[in-house]
Amino acid sequence: MAGYGYNFRSRQRGTPAIDNTLFIKGVALEYRALTFIFLSVCIMFADSRFGYLEKIRFGLGFATAPVYWVADVPTRVSLWIDDVFVSRTDLLQENELLREQLLISRRELQLVDSLISENNRLLELREVTQSIGGKVLPAEIINMSPDPYSKRVLINKGARDGVVIGQALLDANGLMGQVHEVLSYTSWVLLVTDFHHVTPVEVNRNGERALARGSRTTASELELEFVTQTQDMRAGDLLVSSGMGQVYPKNYPVAEIISVYADAGQDFAVVKARPLAQIASTRHVMVVLEKETAPIEDSSIRDPAAAGAEADASLPLPVAQGQVIRLAPTPDDR
């Protein structure tokens, strides 16, 4: 029906251009708009302040699943093309490389067994029980937040696969973030580099504790908060998760300190760190399904009380733990 078109010619041709569209506005339009705005404000308030609408979000998530699926098609096709049209020599080279890596990993795993038992003995001495590893679920990053200041990614595992809010996300190199919204087939993960995200960490070298907050800028960086001028931190130090806050398992590598700026006139030093996880480039990640909550709870309750006294005693331990845990999530764990 070209009669409802807005080109001038068709109106002149005598089609009934004066139609109901003339009368759809009026008082009703303003009231309708105001009603919907009011409704939206209510929804926004209920959603962001109280979280009443988890169910609705979850339900609407079904409707959005196909959009995510189609949006991911180009990436999958290009991956498929990469797989199919790869030369034999490339494959052989890759195969050789993987074999080498496997060999190295096997050797490290052999050491891990002895380190685990040694570690457990040491931990028993400290009356802390802690299991290493945990079940992991392999996942893929299929999208990321359209707002460059909000650092979140979408993974292709959701409530159907047993993902719940608060689970940690890792890649092969380190901690990436935590699940903060679960839909049925997908979930949103808040990255450690997001400004709203604070990771409790400790320096692997000496056990100094700190809080690592995501960067305020679009850069993929972490800033250590409230680090006093006297704390021993250097560029190049490895930061591992300290297990406090009970969200992350202990001793996963998080970041590497890139700069320490201590201005005598300021209260705190400015310490910046680079996340170890390949946030921008990797697609393959792991969700840690089982957290060792109970033991960590014990240690984190104990820790602040005896923080000063314990700092010296715990010196040799984090080093050993860090080495062990970094190798823990191997494919054998699934």
Binding site: Y6, A33, S48, A63, N143, P146, S150
Partner: protein
């Protein structure tokens, strides 16, 4: 309303494509220049078929966009409702505009939409962005509008959507 709806699936499909384009990952530097596909498609359909799409459909479209972007529920809904309201009250004038005038109006409307979203994001504590570079998206939207308009008009006529 006054007639049986015809080929409504075309509208749904165009929204589906708009959603896709809105969430397809972009390189970091291009994020601020991504045209606002969903508001533009909404403006088109409200302008062309004001008796079919109105404030209610804009609200639903906004809610779906909120879920897709993982933002606070109702954020895009508010801004799209306001967008639909302005478009509904201007649609007869907009049809008479030249494409340059339309682009100018789209620039203003999408800018308004972006600014509203930004304010609401700040209110709900979702972003800490203080630079106004995100407004560049309204410029790219205005540049793209004439071709999008032609395309959607072709589609609407060939499928006889009403």
């Amino acid at each position: 309303m006054q007639k049986r709806a015809h080929a409504i699936w075309v509208i749904f499909f165009s929204f589906f494509v708009a959603y896709l384009l809105a969430i397809v990952p972009f390189p970091e530097w291009a994020m601020n220049y991504r045209p606002e596909w969903v508001p533009m498609v909404l403006i088109y359909w409200v302008m062309a078929l004001p008796y079919r799409l109105g404030i209610g459909s804009a609200w639903c479209a906004g809610l779906l966009l909120d879920i897709l972007e993982g933002s606070a529920l109702g954020l895009n809904a508010i801004s799209l409702v306001i967008l639909a309201y302005v478009t509904l009250s201007l649609h007869q004038r907009m049809r008479m505009f030249t494409s340059l005038q339309q682009s100018g109006l789209i620039f203003a409307l999408v800018g308004l939409n972006l600014m509203l979203c930004h304010w609401l994001q700040i209110v709900t504590g979702q972003t800490i962005n203080v630079s106004l570079l995100f407004l560049m998206a309204s410029l790219t939207s205005a540049v793209i509008w004439p071709s999008l308009f032609q395309l959607l008009r072709q589609i609407r006529r060939s499928f006889d959507v009403h």
